[in-house]
Each structure stands twice: as C-alpha cells, then as structure tokens.
Subunit: 116 residues, 2 copies
Amino acid sequence: MPVELTPSQALGLWHAVSLAQVRVDSRDLTLRQMAILLQIYLVPPPHTVRGLAATLGVTKPVITRALDTMGALGLVDRVRDERDRRNVVIKRTVEGSLYLEKFGDLIINQGRNLPL
Amino acid sequence: MPVELTPSQALGLWHAVSLAQVRVDSRDLTLRQMAILLQIYLVPPPHTVRGLAATLGVTKPVITRALDTMGALGLVDRVRDERDRRNVVIKRTVEGSLYLEKFGDLIINQGRNLPL
DNA sequence: CACAAAAGAAACGCTTGCGTAACGATCGCC
DNA sequence: GGCGATCGTTACGCAAGCGTTTCTTTTGTG
C-alpha cells in the first residue's frame, strides 16, 4: 500500500517530525543510528553486526558503536549466539519498542496536521 | 492537505528513507541539523541564530555549530545583517536546495514503494 | 556620551563518532 | 589436532558535538 506524497508534503512531513522530535527528546540520534534501530525493529530477526553493516553499507565498528550507544540508552540489547559463539544477536527491548511506538505516533500526528 | 498514515506505514517510511539516505550519502546529519536545515528552507526568511534556537528549543551555540558544519558542507550561508549588525541572516544555497530536493524525491519514492 | 542589553561567536573541558588497523575468540575443515 | 577464515570488539588518532561561560560587536536609551 503505497503512500503518495507531493514534494511539499514529503519535506514538510520530515520537517515537522524532526522539529517535534528535537523539541521533545534530547536524545539526538544520528540518521545512521535511527536506520539501525528501525532495521532491528521492523525487519524479522535475527540481526547480527555483520548483517547490519552490510545492509547499511557501513563498516562493522560503526554498528558496534551504535549498539554501544543505543544499548546504554536501553533501546537495544546484545546476546551472544550460543549456536555460533562468534555471532552476536541483537535483541529488541521494551524501552526500544516504546520509543519507536511514540515516534510512529509523532509521524502520524504530524502527517495529519500538515498545513494545507 | 493532511497525510493519513498507519503506524506501519509511518515507521516503514522512516525506515526506508533513513536506510536509503545512509547508503547514498556519507554525510550523516544529526536530527537537529536536519531540523535546522529544513526550517531554513521551508519557512520564509529571515532566519537568525536566535530565532532558530528558540524554534528548536536549544541553545545558541548549538545553532552556531550546526551552521559551521553545514556551512562547510555548502548547505547554508551566513550574511551579516546590515540593518542591525548584531544579527546574522542565514541564507539558502544552491547546493542546499539541491540536497533537499534530492532528499524529497527520496521520501516520495520510498513512500511509493512501501510494501503492501 | 555612557552604559546596560542583545546577538552571535569563541573558549573550555568533555563526550561521542569516525575510519583504519589490529586483536582475541570461535568455527569449519582437512 | 592444527590452521586459515570469520565474527565482533578494541585501539588509535582525529574530527565534531555538547553545555556552560566568557567575549566582542553593536544597538538603543537615559
């Protein structure tokens, strides 16, 4: 189910959401961190460092650092894969789900209130 | 003209756009920087450091630094206000317009290609 | 004219992120 | 059992961001 947007709506929506999010939450995630977070929560598991790095087109340390940061914020969790102990499986958290749920609501509301 | 989105569409759109932007452009603007940039380009001028700080709910140095960075990237320009030389007026640039135009297209295309 | 107020920048010490390169742990396979 | 390959992390030197405070320039007002 595609979403059809005009250029003005597209940028206007991004503008309104960015602004609202900045005002409401001092956590200033980079676009990369946001992409990682959404990938983890919207795409079926399992997620690994290597897989995320390939998906995002960035190096592994970038993923490691983002997981450090977002782990400290409680947004994600890391668990060693017992079947192949070289791997780390990235887990979702309750707090992360809540964070994205609120963020989704924000998008919906800002979209609804777009100026005509 | 409001945009009606389901929770899945809202987060899915943000996910797809973030991912595509990360892959296509190594410039990793923070959410704050993006909010500032969009504010400058979507809201009628003039824009000042003080005004942006108030709009974003952040301190003035945050704006100064963001303008430094984005100025170095060619996305914005600063000009002293000749009518009140304490002020600095933030100007749009051709490169900044291009950047946002491409970004808008990206949003539109990702919205159009959202999974059903 | 003097002087407080205002705008923006710069300074300070700190934190976080970067890319590259090196590292330890673990696996698969001969 | 040994050994190259793979996975994630750590180390390194550096760039950029943060909040707070201080400074410089300019304005307006008594």
